[in-house]
């Protein structure tokens, strides 16, 4: 027994080094992509469409990576990730709009806004996590979906205004706020928040991607991360060696939620209108993020980054097909899933790789 664990340890160490290298490749990939895009930007070779897509791409990459922490590392299926993004988006937009005049420095204001988003989403993550993480499997999934929908529904019904008497909140309509004539309505229910400053940019987005990747990778390789993964692989075994299941599940879930909040801040500061529609913060979006994670490989951060980029670009690049655009997108999605996951194609891919390897060896 002892020998085996000893062996495992050495194996683990070896793997760790390899894993670190693997992480570095991911960081390097992001940096190289950034440099290439910046060069293209500076030389004016990037189309307006792609320029406009840069910040959304960063948003979706962060979302995919953060969901991968829940799905891949913690091993729980969450269908409510867009809810946390929604919280982050609205809290940071409210902050920026409310203090637009008080904090003149854009960079500082956006920095604080991101912190606000991360904190409020993390808080929400804790609140949601307490009940949710007691459940298992598909039941957990449906409850996260339910929470996502509740968040969206409540945000759609909130009216918030400020006047000289302070902040007024109502759940019915603007009139019931009872604002003074000089008052300003900040959140107008379904009409959401209008006039968020345009503070997001590509550089900030890339910095945030790198930060998210570093946070997640460090977590995964830490003692905490190993505890989380042991829960994923065998909960009972993990419990029997004294791992506090609830605590570690909670840590992973909260970090995942707060990163989604950061992505929300990036999203809301890129558009001047923010409304919680089924389209952008409903379960559809949660599922879209899940698609990135599954297609990129569960637990594979680099895969999530690549899949998020590809699947966000795909419908935009298909614009030439007009009416058939979303149809083709659906077909490509199904085909990609079948190709990536079907046991038969997996076997075929392995065989091809084997052949490739052999020919390479022969060449050498």
């Amino acid at each position: 027994m002892i020998m085996m664990s000893e062996q495992k340890k050495t194996k683990g160490k070896l793997k760790l080094n390899k894993v670190t290298k693997n992480d570095l490749i991911t960081y390097l990939m992001v940096v190289i992509a950034y440099v290439i895009v910046e060069i293209l930007l500076k030389t004016g070779n990037l189309s307006s469409l792609l320029q406009g897509l840069l910040v959304p791409l960063c948003t979706y990459v962060i979302l995919a990576v953060s969901l991968n922490l829940t799905v891949g590392i913690l091993g729980e299926l969450s269908l409510g990730h867009a809810g946390f993004m929604c919280i982050g988006a609205f809290s940071s937009a409210l902050f920026s709009l409310g203090l637009k005049d008080s904090i003149a420095n854009e960079g500082l204001r956006f920095f604080i806004a991101i912190l606000v988003a991360a904190a409020s989403a993390a808080l929400c993550g804790i609140l949601v996590g307490i009940p949710v993480l007691r459940l298992k499997g598909d039941y957990l999934a449906i409850v996260t979906l339910a929470f996502g929908e509740i968040i969206k529904n409540i945000i759609n019904a909130i009216y918030l205004g400020v006047d000289s008497h302070g902040i007024h909140i109502s759940m019915t309509d603007t009139m019931s706020l009872g604002l003074e004539p000089d008052g300003k309505v900040l959140i107008k229910g379904a009409q959401g928040i209008t006039g968020t400053p345009h503070d997001s940019n590509f550089t900030i987005g890339v910095v945030l991607i790198l930060l998210s990747l570093i946070i997640i990778n460090n977590l995964v390789h830490s003692r905490t991360g190993r505890a989380v993964m042991s829960i994923r692989d065998n909960r009972i075994a993990a419990e029997s060696v004294g791992i506090n299941i609830t605590k570690y599940k909670m840590i992973a879930f909260t970090i995942s939620a707060s990163l989604a909040g950061v992505a929300g801040a990036l999203y809301s500061h890129n558009l001047s209108t923010l409304t919680a529609l089924p389209k952008n913060f409903g379960y559809n979006m949660s599922i879209m993020i899940l698609v990135f994670v599954v297609l990129g490989g569960i637990g594979n951060m680099r895969g999530s980054v690549i899949a998020a980029v590809i699947l966000t670009l795909l419908p935009e690049l298909l614009r030439g097909l007009n009416n058939y655009r979303m149809l083709i997108y659906a077909i490509v999605l199904i085909a990609m899933m079948l190709f990536n996951w079907s046991p038969r194609t997996v076997a075929w891919k392995e065989k091809m790789a084997e052949k490739l390897k052999r020919t390479k060896k022969e060449e050498v």
């Binding site: 189309s47 307006s48 469409l49 792609l50 320029q51 406009g52 897509l53 959304p56 929908e149 529904n153 759609n156 019904a157 309509d173 009139m175 107008k188 229910g189 379904a190 009409q191 959401g192 209008t194 006039g195 345009h198 999203y267 890129n270 558009l271 001047s272 209108t273 409304t275 529609l277 089924p278 389209k279 952008n280 409903g282 990129g296 490989g297 594979n300 680099r302 895969g303 690549i306 899949a307 980029v309 590809i310 670009l313 935009e316 690049l317 614009r319 030439g320 007009n322 009416n323 655009r325 979303m326 990609m336 190709f339 990536n340 997996v346 891919k349 392995e350 091809m352 790789a353 084997e354």
Partner: protein, 402 residues
């Protein structure tokens, strides 16, 4: 296991590579088509005045597709008509309509796509949220923007943006005043879509104005985009509150359901709606007797008998599988003709820069008068149209002026 990972990585890499090349080639394609249209433009410039590129944005897929499709169709119809009649200042118009799925982010993507295409003016977006998001960008680029149907106040907050439809508060106000002045009711119930900007915008102003009018709002019930099939509760509440008029500041899709459910429960108050209700008689297979006596304030009626409307409806039906144009289509048709009038007034030429066009159009818009499908329209510099809403009542399955 390791092998599998490596292979899947390879796969992803190959995929992304193919995507990148795909992206590159599509860019090239866009570039070359740009070049192609440029050359044709130059080629025809000597003969005529070149082409003026008009972009359009609206939802062509997703739950709001019905509105975007109407706008895209009507815009194409109007552009074809203008071109057949010799174009604008000798220039031909070219329309490129992009889908935004009713999502602000996708709308900005669509805007950027159109910019790459070489758009010189924008007709859109169709929905308010998208229109506001895009106006942030048109302001920065100083691109002339005319939204046919973005009715929220903020849609035209910048001076480069104009609209054809009424603003939401304007409709709420007009409806409340009309009901009050004509003593249509003393107890009013409202059923509105709280998740929709258009609907909640009208409701708010309506409720505020109701205080000054001789009627009382006895029940105001909302529904949301996720919960818009069953209205029995909202109707029951209106009925229990004794409302003799139900105000429906919503679109006809939901209104048709409300009418049929009210009929099922034997509740027959006076129904009153805004321009969103226009189109209800043309829902395929809808039992129009349910809509009997419904009143609505709308600037457009598809069965009006003036030549302009008759021709428009006929051409639209011929071109698009017998579909009857709705309010959105009419506003768009007027939008294209407003652009034509303003461009002629301002003497726009195809080789002017986007910003120059915008400046010239901004000035010209306030000077023109368009005799359109939705009435005689003039614009003020703040982008708001001035036109008369018509109150109509549905009698024997068609609109009758009141």
């Amino acid at each position: 296991m390791k092998m599998k990972k490596l292979v899947s990585l390879l796969m992803v890499a190959a995929l992304s590579a193919s995507m990148l090349t795909g992206c590159g080639s599509s860019n090239d394609a866009a570039g070359s088509s740009d070049a192609a249209t440029d050359t044709t433009a130059e080629g025809t410039e000597n003969a005529a005045g070149g082409t003026l590129k008009i972009g359009g944005i609206g939802p062509l897929t997703g739950a709001a597709a019905v509105y975007g499709t109407a706008v895209a169709n009507a815009a194409q119809l109007a552009v074809d008509e203008v071109n057949a009649a010799g174009g604008v200042n000798g220039m031909q118009l070219e329309l490129n309509f992009q889908d935004d799925e009713c999502d602000a982010e996708k709308s900005v993507n669509a805007y950027n796509t159109l910019k790459d295409w070489g758009m010189q003016m924008l007709v859109g977006s169709v929905t308010s949220g998208c229109s506001i998001a895009v106006s942030e960008y048109t302001k920065d680029d100083n691109m002339f923007q005319l939204t046919p149907s973005g009715s929220a106040v903020e849609c035209v907050q910048y001076d480069n943006a104009f609209r054809v439809c009424f603003s939401d508060p304007n409709q709420g106000l007009a409806s409340a005043q009309y009901i009050g002045e004509n003593n249509l009711a003393t107890k009013v119930a409202v059923i509105y879509d709280s998740s929709d900007i258009y609907s909640s915008g009208i409701y708010e102003k309506f409720a505020a104005e109701a205080a000054n009018q001789p009627f009382e709002i006895v029940s105001a019930e909302a529904f949301t985009a996720d919960n818009k099939t069953d209205f029995s509760v909202q109707l029951q509440k209106a009925k229990d509150a004794g409302a003799d008029l139900v105000f429906l500041p919503i679109y006809y899709t939901e209104a048709s359901l409300i009418l049929s459910q009210a009929d099922k429960m034997g509740y027959a108050p006076q129904f009153f709606g805004c321009d969103g209700l226009d189109g209800i008689l043309n829902v395929e297979n809808f039992d129009t007797s349910l809509a009997e006596n419904v009143m609505l304030l709308t600037p457009f009626a598809a069965d009006a008998t003036d030549d302009l409307t008759v021709n428009f409806v006929k051409n639209y039906k011929d071109k698009f599988n017998g579909e009857t144009p709705n309010q959105f289509a009419a506003d768009t048709y007027d939008a294209i003709y407003a652009i034509k009038a303003a461009a002629e007034k301002a003497g726009i030429t195809a080789d002017m820069s986007v910003s120059d066009i915008c400046e010239a159009m901004k000035a010209a818009m306030t000077e023109i008068t368009v005799n359109g499908l939705t009435g005689t329209i003039t614009w003020s510099a703040d982008g708001e149209p001035t036109k008369e809403p018509k109150a109509v009542k549905i009698v024997n399955g068609s609109y009758t002026a009141m």
